[in-house]
């Protein structure tokens, strides 16, 4: 089956007063129908930027400098502004980071669902569209009565659910949920994740879950992509990622997870996240990397497939493969 989402060499730059920040530097990614991908990385590594670039919603001072995003055979980057507007929500939906403030405070939840439907299917009869909204609310475990309520009458978890309900209204092939649980308490976090999981099963859509809580994410996704300073450094199946991470940064992330062995003693990753304005030469992670070699400060390692099923961008493995071939 062809991938439902293909991202090719996506590049985004923010032109700030203090210089150009390469927030996304040649990111490529494939997602199969029904696949669940977790996108993790430190705050500021470019996760939201990647999602927004896929939606073609990068705002000044940011600019998409190049690359392609193909959803279900449609090249979004080639669409007109109006066609792209129609593609949002119907082909690819983005459930924003900070769902707390993502609902209009002065109009009812129902109106905010109906306007989404009407923007895409103006002909759909009112009763039918309303029924569709009701079913979407029910499928995220909200009561039908929420349709008539205002945002301020809902709890944080309920607002997040409303945003998810809006995201699935038009049954898009790809849904991106940007840190859907970061503002919620632990119990609600789990419930929301379970809801997303169930919805994904029902719709059969592909989903990208952005977050920095690897532990929570591990239970819900098939694949994990690790982002560092605007690049993907490793994409692996979730089991591989947790049992045998390849990229030194991914290894550090996994090590820093709380477990029974380290008894909650937080192990941070040594060193500071780099400024995008002054990225280290070569591999951006090399100043913090325990395995850094001479080549790491000279050349940017490309994202290569190793062992057939996983992708890693690290000179450690390129070199090894070369040695293996020579031997």
């Amino acid at each position: 089956m062809p991938p439902v989402l293909q991202v090719r060499d996506l590049q985004v730059t923010y032109y700030t007063d203090s210089g150009r920040a390469r927030a996304l530097d040649g990111v490529s990614l494939d997602l199969n129908p029904g696949e669940k991908l977790g996108l993790v990385g430190e705050s500021g590594s470019g996760k939201s930027t990647m999602a927004l670039a896929m939606m073609r919603m990068i705002k000044p001072p940011g600019r998409i400098e190049g690359g392609k995003v193909v959803v279900g055979g449609t090249d979004l980057t080639a669409l007109s502004e109006e066609a792209m507007r129609k593609a949002r929500l119907s082909k690819i939906a983005y459930i924003p980071q900070g769902a707390m403030n993502s609902l209009n405070p002065v109009i009812r939840i129902g109106a905010q669902m109906m306007d989404a439907i009407r923007a895409h299917n103006p002909e759909e009869p009112r009763a039918e569209a309303e029924e569709r909204c009701m079913r979407a609310l029910e499928s995220v475990d909200l009561k039908r009565s929420v349709f008539k309520m205002y945002a301020h009458e809902l709890s944080g978890g309920m607002k997040q659910r409303v945003c998810i309900a809006i995201g699935i209204l038009l049954r898009p092939q790809v849904i991106i949920a940007d840190e859907p649980t970061s503002a919620l308490d632990v119990v609600t976090q789990r419930q929301v994740m379970e809801t997303i999981d169930r919805i994904q099963h029902e719709l059969g859509c592909a989903i990208i879950l952005i977050g920095h809580d690897m532990g929570l994410m591990a239970q819900f996704v098939d694949k994990v992509a690790v982002m560092y300073a605007g690049r993907l450094v490793e994409v692996s199946r979730v089991r591989d990622m947790f049992t045998d991470p390849k990229h030194p940064y991914a290894q550090a992330l996994i090590r820093s997870l709380p477990s029974l062995e380290n008894k909650g003693v937080f192990q941070g990753i040594p060193g500071l996240a780099p400024s995008l304005l002054r990225l280290p030469s070569g591999c951006a992670y090399h100043p913090r990397c325990q395995h850094a070699m001479e080549i790491c400060s000279r050349a940017v390692p490309p994202l290569e497939t190793i062992n057939g099923s996983r992708q890693v961008a690290c000179h450690l493995y390129v070199e090894k493969d070369l040695y293996a071939e020579k031997a």
Partner: protein, 332 residues
């Protein structure tokens, strides 16, 4: 809405009326001048009657207005009259009462102020919202600029300038009055059109200077609202730009502007009165103007009192409408 809230607002209105009445009671009595005597001295000078009768007439009038009673008695009478909506009898237009004079003039004032305030508010807020909307065409965004430049010009100056250039120099519109001399107010199309022509310059004098204020505050508000997550999410939903502009951006940016409208009411009335007297419109402004010229203190303070009560009542009324604009506001 809870009844407690209504009772509180009602008590607030009573307090406003009581304070305003107390002030309008004492201020004229602090003055050493005796307006009744002054009025009749003037009449006597014009030869209406012999100065010998003067003292007698003044005394009888003072008695009529209760000015011979002890102060506390006068205060009590005055206060109970005010709460019966009786603001006294005009000295100059006797036997007309202040309320009669106001009521005759009020339709003109309400018509002018209501229309100009609504036009300025709607125009200013639309232009301001558009000026802050990055997707609007540049020519449209620039439309607001002239109004911002005119913002500092007070309605008096604006009125005089309009009168001079458009009324006097270009003779495009009438110089003053509410309708052409010689016509009788009737409900014919001809008369209505004639009256409307007379309202254009006064209306412009009130509108031109006040649009800019709304433009500026709306533009500031608009910039803030655009950055809100719900506007961004509306774009993610694939809504058309017009829906986003109206339901997500404008609706929210307008909320603080409604409060601004309440605060502006006082200035609206003051400016309206000034413009009415410049253009000789038969509104409350002219009644006040004539009362001041003839030192008719009963009417002067009656109008001051009336305006205070009217503005306070309007403010409470607009406040009662807030929950319709913003569902987060509960009146309690």
């Amino acid at each position: 809405m809870k009844p407690v809230f209504l009772i509180k607002r009602f008590l607030f209105l009573i307090l406003v009326i009581w304070s305003a009445a107390t002030i309008t009671f004492f201020i004229p009595r602090l003055s050493p001048r005796n307006p009744i005597r002054e009025r009749f001295v003037e009449l006597a000078r014009m030869g209406g009657f012999s100065p010998a009768d003067l003292e007698q007439i003044v005394a009888s009038y003072s008695q009529r207005f209760g000015l011979d009673k002890p102060l506390y008695q006068q205060y009590f009478d005055y206060m109970s009259a005010v709460f019966r909506f009786d603001f006294g009898v005009s000295l100059n237009k006797f036997p007309k009462t202040t309320v009669e004079l106001i009521m005759e003039a009020l339709p003109w004032t309400i018509g002018l102020l209501l229309a100009t305030t609504i036009i300025a508010f709607v125009l200013g807020n639309l232009l301001g919202a558009v000026a802050a909307w990055p997707k609007a065409p540049n020519w449209l965004r620039a439309t607001a600029t002239p109004f911002v430049l005119l913002m500092g010009v007070p309605p008096v100056i604006m009125g005089v300038l309009l009168l001079f250039f458009i009324g006097f120099r270009l003779k495009l519109l009438p110089l003053g009055g509410a309708y052409s001399i010689g016509t009788v107010p009737t409900f014919t199309l001809e008369f209505v059109l004639d009256a409307a022509r007379h309202q254009i310059l006064p209306a412009l004098a009130l509108i031109l200077g006040s649009v800019g204020g709304w433009v500026l505050s709306m533009r500031g508000m608009g910039v803030t609202i655009q950055g809100e997550d719900y506007v961004t999410f509306a774009e993610h939903k694939g809504l058309g730009p017009f829906t986003i502009f109206r339901d997500y951006y404008l609706r929210n940016a307008l909320l603080p502007q409604a409060t601004g409208l309440v605060l502006a009411l006082g200035a609206v009335v003051t400016n309206g009165i000034v413009v009415e007297s410049i253009f000789g419109l038969p509104g409350v402004g002219r009644v006040l103007d004539q009362a001041i010229r003839s030192n008719d203190f009963i009417v002067i303070y009656g109008i001051v009192l009336f305006i205070t009560i009217a503005v306070a009542t309007l403010m409470v009324a607009v406040e009662l409408l807030y929950p319709l604009l913003d569902p987060r506001i509960k009146l309690d």
